[in-house]
């Protein structure tokens, strides 16, 4: 295939163009870095509830997933083609994997929850990388958006403002227009002159708001406990409050069992914290990294980190779902049936391989 970019001269040309873009970006596009906030910014208010940009992004995630599902299952055929075939392959692979870990009976019961968590986190992480997430938003006064105290710390970003349908919409650009100059004019006396415009993005990756990972972790925990009760009945509580040996009269062993039960309860609660912060930390840190690199070396270079973020988004989705699965398997395993359970899993694993 001939063309401008073929051969070693073409490659040299490509390298020169890229380096030139990076250099011009560093030299020409300089501006103050965007305001990074662990808390999500609210977009509009419904009564007493403030809807944040991360909630809007999670709604879009749900709509995207529902749309894919509807499109794939419309006019379903016995021999699948197209989107239906793709989704069938995907679901079948994941189902085999889940069944190989959890056994046939419990694998099929865990599968919907585990798969939903995986798909939701994956789609929302990857959607957060789309252009427009975090960069296109509405211009508001810092005091109105953040409240008096916090508005002091917020510094103005550089953005370019347009007026769309009466609303001041802005696009965040390193080295771009307005707000870079505004603070100099407005730095005077009196609060009326100090209107500090900030860019409030319309969309923000939903796992960068601590609430969403917390909600997912709580959902996962509730399901794990529910599966434990479904498998073992009320005797599931004997894992945490092991009074069997105490009632038999062995005081010392009984107290040790109670202490172990207490540690189990603490470790269950710690799982909620670790699930939450693992997902939040990875996604939020990724977003901060992208913003910092974009403002540090404005053009082209940030693509490398987009690759990292794609990978991290997928890994975190997989890890969240996989850990939910593993903890579910541990919750339904009772000590008496250990050998039978392992044998079943062994058979399922052999059949799978």
């Amino acid at each position: 295939m001939g063309g401008l970019l073929s051969g070693s001269k073409g490659k040299l040309l490509a390298v020169i163009v890229i380096l030139g873009l990076i250099a011009s970006g560093v030299i020409l596009l300089k501006g103050p870095i965007a305001h990074i906030d662990p808390a999500a910014e609210w977009i509009f208010q419904v009564g007493a509830i403030r809807i944040t940009n991360s909630i809007i992004a999670s709604w879009i995630t749900v709509v995207v997933l529902a749309l894919i599902a509807v499109l794939a299952t419309r006019r379903m055929q016995l021999v699948p083609r197209g989107l239906q075939s793709l989704l069938e392959t995907f679901i079948e692979t994941m189902l085999n994997f889940v069944v190989s870990v959890a056994g046939k009976k419990w694998g099929r019961r865990f599968f919907p929850v585990v798969m939903t968590i995986f798909l939701f986190v994956l789609v929302s992480n990857w959607m957060g990388l789309l252009p427009g997430f975090g960069t296109i938003g509405v211009v508001r006064d810092a005091k109105a958006q953040f409240g008096e105290k916090k508005a002091e710390e917020v510094h103005a970003t550089s953005f370019t403002k347009l007026n769309v349908a009466g609303l001041d919409v802005a696009l965040m650009l390193p080295g771009g227009g307005e707000a870079a100059e505004k603070p100099k004019e407005a730095s005077g006396h009196g609060e009326a002159a100090q209107a500090k415009p900030v860019l409030v993005p319309f969309f923000r990756s939903t796992n960068t708001d601590l609430n969403t990972p917390l909600a997912l972790a709580l959902v996962a925990m509730v399901f794990i406990e529910m599966w434990g009760f479904q498998a073992l009945g009320p005797m599931y509580l004997s894992k945490f409050f092991n009074v069997r040996r105490l009632l038999r009269g062995e005081i010392f062993s009984g107290i040790i069992d109670l202490a172990i039960g207490l540690l189990e309860i603490i470790s269950e609660l710690a799982r909620i914290i670790s699930f939450t912060f693992r997902l939040f930390g990875n996604v939020f840190a990724g977003e901060v990294l992208l913003i910092v690199i974009t403002f540090l070396v404005p053009l082209v270079f940030v693509l490398v980190f987009y690759g990292l973020e794609l990978f991290v988004g997928f890994m975190q989705a997989f890890v969240f779902a996989f850990l939910t699965l593993i903890f579910g398997v541990m919750a339904v395993a009772s000590h008496g049936e250990d050998h039978k359970g392992h044998q079943e899993e062994g058979e399922a694993a052999e059949a799978h391989h």
Binding site: I36, D37, P38, S274, F277, R278, F280, G281, N282, F284, A285, V288, V319, F322, L323, I326, H353
Partner: protein
């Protein structure tokens, strides 16, 4: 040493020293997994899955350090 300067220092130390342990842990895990894989290439999927699980737990500790660093810096 101003308040703001101490904050920056604390944030940097939190993440810097907090990732020493997990970095070491992940390196050990991966090296042992490679050894096991070299000895028994047939067990690849089992080794891989368990290695990922171990690395995830180790990375979670690093994430805790990162969260503390971010909290110090931004909150």
């Amino acid at each position: 040493m101003t308040d703001e300067g101490l904050r920056l220092l604390a944030s940097a130390l939190a993440i810097g020293m907090g990732t020493l342990g997990p970095g070491l842990a992940i390196g050990l895990l991966a090296s042992k997994a490679m050894e096991a894989l070299g000895r028994n290439p047939e067990a690849q999927s089992a080794i891989q899955v368990n290695m990922i699980l171990g690395i995830v737990f180790a990375e979670a500790i690093a994430i805790y350090a990162l969260v503390v660093a971010l909290l110090i810096k931004f909150v």
